[in-house]
Symmetry: C2
Subunit: 192 residues, 2 copies
């Protein structure tokens, strides 16, 4: 019984019913724990929730960087570096390379881990790898309206999708001018 | 209706029942997706699963490093650096500091992000920060049988809890001898 694609939605964090037996959960503090969990008093399953990793790349071809115009929410019609949620059974590098293939169809060689960005208000950590393109050819997938190479003076700063994208690009432009690329770890928390 | 603590267990990854309406899920490929998900055909909730972050520290006091003897499974009765699952609403640094407080009661100043370790076979990424202790006092919590300072020539290599712990310690000992601490990113995948 498969419905129209618009019928489906990502399940929210709150786990109202037990994933193991379908009983209504209780949100409460367990003995020895320090925060409330969604707990099943019927079978005993405790539904822990943890932040998610978003993995992506900063692909460079000569003096240009690859950006993708998002076809999907959130932030449809804004430009992003290729990135997405890390999946089970993959490393961060594999996830970043997969997302670059899926969203842009770019042929890249992955470089080193470049930015690691805490965004606690959305329970995410964003991670970007440096990447070198082997050619300018692109073949964007269904989540991308357009994939395009931008000169570093052409970046659409006013229409970027996420702060993790703009800060990663700014670090890169700075480091490129100094020919020295260090890993950057920082937080985009609202209250610091 | 609160049960004996041993009644409770962490819910496995497989989401048999819908978290939003309690209906039995279907495991299937959705249109436009590239892997099977636990999908509710009644309300439309899709239950994505993602790797988890484990955050911890490598606390140093002079020429000694802090290890904790685990009171709980997995790997009870083996030594670990203080670390645990990152929680919602916190940054990696906050999680690492929290775990160090909970497991060892050590008074530390957090340093920089030091190791980032992919472990795809258990769907985890482990992250360790450098840390300096402000004093040798320790006050281990219930997940720790004993917290202790070890000289770098006293580390119980044969009884460490996880490969992410032993490799992080080895990187530190090497970098300390060269007085240069770089971030290390690597994978502990079985098949590389």
């Amino acid at each position: 019984m498969s419905q129209d694609p618009s019928f489906y939605f990502p399940a929210p964090r709150e786990q109202k019913f037990c994933s193991q037996c379908g009983t209504l959960n209780t949100n409460r503090l367990l003995e020895g724990d320090n925060r409330k969990r969604d707990v099943c008093e019927h079978c005993g399953a405790v539904h822990y929730q943890n932040p998610r990793l978003v993995v992506g790349t900063l692909p460079v071809w000569g003096d240009k960087v690859l950006l993708c115009l998002r076809a999907i929410e959130p932030r449809a019609n804004t430009w992003t570096l290729p990135a997405g949620f890390m999946e089970l059974s993959e490393s961060m590098s594999q996830g970043a390379a997969r997302e670059t293939q899926e969203e842009a169809g770019a042929n890249i060689v992955l470089g080193k881990l470049y930015t690691v960005i805490d965004i606690p208000q959305v329970d995410q950590v964003h991670v970007y790898f440096l990447a070198e393109a082997l050619g300018p050819e692109l073949d964007p997938g269904p989540e991308t309206l357009e994939a395009r190479w931008f000169g570093f003076d052409e970046i659409p700063w006013d229409n970027l999708a996420f702060r993790s994208v703009s800060t990663t690009l700014k670090h890169y432009i700075h480091d490129r001018s100094h020919e020295h690329f260090e890993m950057h770890h920082y937080s985009l928390a609202i209250n610091r």
